[in-house]
Amino acid sequence: MYVLAVVGPDGAGRADLVDQFVGALAADGTVAVVTEDDPVREADGLPGASDERVRTSVGVGSDGWAAAGTDRTLDDVVDDLTPTHDYCLLDDVREATVPGVVLGGVDYAGDALTTVETGSGVDVDAVVTTLHERIPHETLDSLVERATGAPGAEFAGAIATFTGRVRARDDPDDERTTHLEFETYEGVAEERMATIEADLEQREGVHEVVMHHRTGVVAAGEDIVFVVVLAGHRPEAFETVSDGIDRLKDEVPIFKKEATTDGEFWVHERDTGAE
């Protein structure tokens, strides 16, 4: 799922521009829109929506559904949308770190694709083209969804997955790792992952292999890398997922800088052999 933020004041034509992006993206796939407005606890017709004892209230009807709750962050919501949507527009989420269109000179911490005074100055098609050059957002669920949609799924009785995450420390005496920062040789990294996927899919009983590695800053406890294998039976599923992550770590040009409470260092310069 490609995530695009549109940030700026109401007076800069933001709502109109979001609508134009919805039109352009819906022609190509499914679209979600997420805002930071705070309307949900007041939602009409949702029993319990304004009752603090109720964590989540949901209405489901023949025309669709509506939900309100107190337990999801913006990141959780975006992750939840990822398996079932091709695009997600973040409407005026200024602390997002995704590619964004910045209107009216507001501060934006993410990757600004274009910065203009008002929405009328934005070339919507050019922004969409640039968005497609960025690495899309993936989650374990979105990769599993893709794997199970592959040809051959009817012969597959097993899905094995590996998720690599940021370990805060190796043992209780270590200083804490606060985050890792990944630098990716874009283009070549994707090529090499595609080669590994294709090689592993040649194996007997292996129907689909999907890999994804995040780039940029990943905080302690967050996910870094995923390998998903769809296979006929569990032995080849387990073996292939294990070989897949080993080959990714050996062959894909991605570089890891570790930040601890004690300072920063490139992991290849201080490799103790621990993984």
């Binding site: 690599g164 990944f182 630098e183 990716t184 040789y185 283009g187 070549v188 990294a189 090529e191 090499r192 590695h213 870094i224 890398v225 992550i245 990714l248 770590k249 050996d250 062959e251 894909v252 040009p253 991605i254 570089f255 890891k256 800088k257 490139w266 992991v267 290849h268 310069e269 490799d271 993984e275």
Partner: protein, 98 residues
């Protein structure tokens, strides 16, 4: 042609992309590397090493040299590999993803 630099090598150079122009006939990866090291001499001690096996052409064992996405030592003629005007070359340390 264009060099791309990564991780500590980019930090040492202070940049992650360097365009080089080679005037001679049939330029090689080695010529492109010489041009890079001339502009960024601080890379010399990181990238070059004495006494390495001939198969590495004097490049440190923990430095990868790629031409258009492929390792020049395992898939081509090392630094003697010819390069075209539009080539993308890369220098990077051991990979550490995952």
């Amino acid at each position: 042609m264009q060099w791309k630099l990564f991780a500590d090598i980019a930090e040492r150079a202070g940049t992650d992309a360097v365009a080089v122009r080679l005037d001679g006939d049939d330029p090689t990866v080695g010529d492109a590397l010489d041009a890079l090291l001339e502009t960024y001499p601080a890379l010399r001690e990181r990238v070059l090493v004495d006494g390495e096996p001939e198969s590495r052409d004097g490049i440190a064992p923990d430095v990868n040299v790629l031409l258009d996405g492929a390792d020049v030592f395992t898939t081509a003629d090392g630094l003697a590999t010819e390069v075209s005007e539009g080539a993308e070359l890369a220098l990077f340390p051991p990979v550490s993803g995952g």
